[in-house]
Amino acid sequence: MKMMTYKDRVVPILRVADYLLVPIQIDLDDSTVGRLQKQLMEEIERTRARAVILDVRMVEVIDSYISYTLSETAAMARLMGCRTILCGIQPPVALTLAQMGVVLQELVVARDLEHALVLASLS
């Protein structure tokens, strides 16, 4: 896999103990969500993290393709021995996803960051 350049990195990824903490504070368009997936896979491989925590508190729209890609990312991470925990889904986003009938497969959903850290430590 070709190494990512600085420009390819779409989000800051913080390393906390054996976990990767990923605050997503940008609008997730299709190419961004694809690059995010690539960046995460490389970080998981490099750091051998046990869990990834995706904090989507600042994300205002999650549509079916973003949902699909997040689930796919989690499935890929699982195959690399890493769990993916999602936290911070905003109420309007939760309502929209529920109404559309989106099931976030492969992802563990936490109430907030603190809960996500607890879940990560259990993995």
Partner: protein
């Protein structure tokens, strides 16, 4: 019949709408979504409904980009409606068309490999009204509305 409807809509002057976004590149999906959000906010929709409208527009714009390559998202607010203010979203393209509209509205049905197959049925659930017209070889039009709720 459907072909005419598509042409009429695609030829309709931009001033009849508050927002017209030409969808031709992937980035246009996010632009359409953002513009829809802004218009819904200005029109006084609740945050929940703003999010639903933006998500629906995102799904419609992506369908245009994926299957038709090119098309338009047209959005207008209608403040004088009998049933109260509403936002109308129209997605139109001259793409390949859909041979079985019922089928594509089935949850989980998709011809695209990286997809949940819930885009169109999701739009139908998120919005208050939903009409789809399509003809193979001519294109597809989706007309959908969301009314502003009273609190």
């Amino acid at each position: 019949m459907v072909g005419e409807k598509i042409e009429t809509l695609l030829e309709s002057p931009a001033h009849e709408f508050d927002v017209v976004v030409r969808i031709a590149r992937e980035e246009d999906i996010a632009v359409a979504r953002q513009m829809a959000k802004q218009l819904a906010q200005e029109t006084g929709f609740s945050l929940a409904d703003v999010t639903k409208i933006a998500t629906a527009v995102s799904e419609l714009a992506r369908n245009i980009y994926r299957y038709a390559k090119e098309g338009r998202i047209m959005i207008r607010k209608r403040l004088e409606d009998r049933d109260g203010p509403c936002i109308e979203v129209i997605a139109a393209d001259r793409g390949p068309g859909i041979s079985d509209v019922e089928l594509v509205l089935t949850r989980g049905y998709t011809t695209y490999e990286r997809s949940l197959g819930i885009g169109l049925s999701g739009v139908k659930r998120l919005m208050d009204s939903f009409e789809i017209y399509s003809e193979v070889g001519k294109g597809t039009v989706v007309i959908t509305e969301k009314r502003r709720r009273k609190f």
